[in-house]
């Protein structure tokens, strides 16, 4: 096998079974992929509204920094159609963890209606948001 196990799952390919230890935080809510040393986390849910779901998402996001020590993270919102304020809260907490860990976080592929939510709440000033995944990966 050419791929390498790291704490938390495979490196170098999309891993639907990412992080068996993270299964204790609920069903997998993120698809994780490593691209050129950058962790790309893609949300699997179209609607990030449910409180329990948001808790699980938060735990799985935080684990990327707290447990896996990842330094470059891109959150891909391609599939996300709805996002509640509680989900925004988890993103803010994630951003704080990333800054504390001196890591980097970028968001990408946010639909216009979701981006409007970031604008209304002025969170577009907090997060580093790029239009495409390529732009997010470039120079992170």
């Amino acid at each position: 096998m050419g791929d390498t196990w790291s704490r938390g799952g495979w490196l170098g390919q999309a891993s639907p079974m990412y992080g068996k230890e993270h299964m204790s935080t609920g069903q997998r809510r993120l698809d994780i992929e490593e691209i050129g040393g950058v962790t790309v986390a893609r949300f699997v849910d179209k609607k990030i509204l449910d409180e329990t779901n948001i808790q699980n998402i938060g735990n799985q996001l935080f684990a990327l920094v707290d447990e896996d020590g990842r330094k470059k993270i891109v959150l891909d919102f391609s599939i996300v159609e709805y996002l509640s304020s509680a989900a925004l809260g988890k993103l803010i907490t994630m951003d704080k963890k990333v800054k504390t860990a001196k890591a980097k976080l970028r968001l990408c592929c946010i639909r216009p209606e979701i981006y409007e939510v970031f604008e209304i709440t002025r969170l577009n000033k907090i997060f580093d948001i790029k239009s495409t995944q390529d732009e997010a990966l470039d120079g992170i």
Partner: protein
């Protein structure tokens, strides 16, 4: 105005019951031509915030408390009343989440989002009941 749906329900203070209510309402809204996709997006977001506020912040997820909902869906108006059994709150005490010092707070944006996406939002004096209204954007 043509009223397509009008109902009153009492739901328990659980996430599952809240989501079920949300999907019931949105199923109806999304089937009507009078509400655009953008309207539906805003209603879903605002409604989710209001339901979560009632269940989580109002009733504290208490199994002893319920949320009463009265909903009217018509061609030219969506109106919903959501009343919890909690102590209420003072709207003036909710800080502006867009102020610089509040930007990095993980909570406190629900009411702002409701105001942004609905035509009208009104709380009773106690703060345990909210009325949301949305007039279709084509009207």
């Amino acid at each position: 105005m043509a009223v397509h749906d009008q109902f009153e329900v009492v739901i328990p203070s659980s996430t599952e019951a809240g989501q079920e209510l949300l999907e019931r309402v949105m199923g109806r809204i999304e089937s009507l031509e009078s509400f655009s996709m953008k309207d539906a997006f805003g209603i879903r977001l605002a409604l989710d915030e209001a339901i979560v506020n009632a269940i989580k912040h109002g009733n504290g997820f208490s199994p002893d408390k319920t949320v009463r909902v009265n909903c009217t869906i018509a061609d030219d108006l969506f109106r919903i009343e959501i009343e919890d059994q909690g102590p209420g709150f003072c709207l003036e005490d909710v800080p502006d989440p867009t102020e610089e010092e509040n930007l990095e707070r993980p909570c406190g944006r629900g009411i702002m989002l409701m105001r942004s996406f609905m035509s009208k939002i009104e709380y009773n004096p106690t703060g345990n009941k909210v009325v949301l209204e949305k007039i279709p954007s084509t009207k």
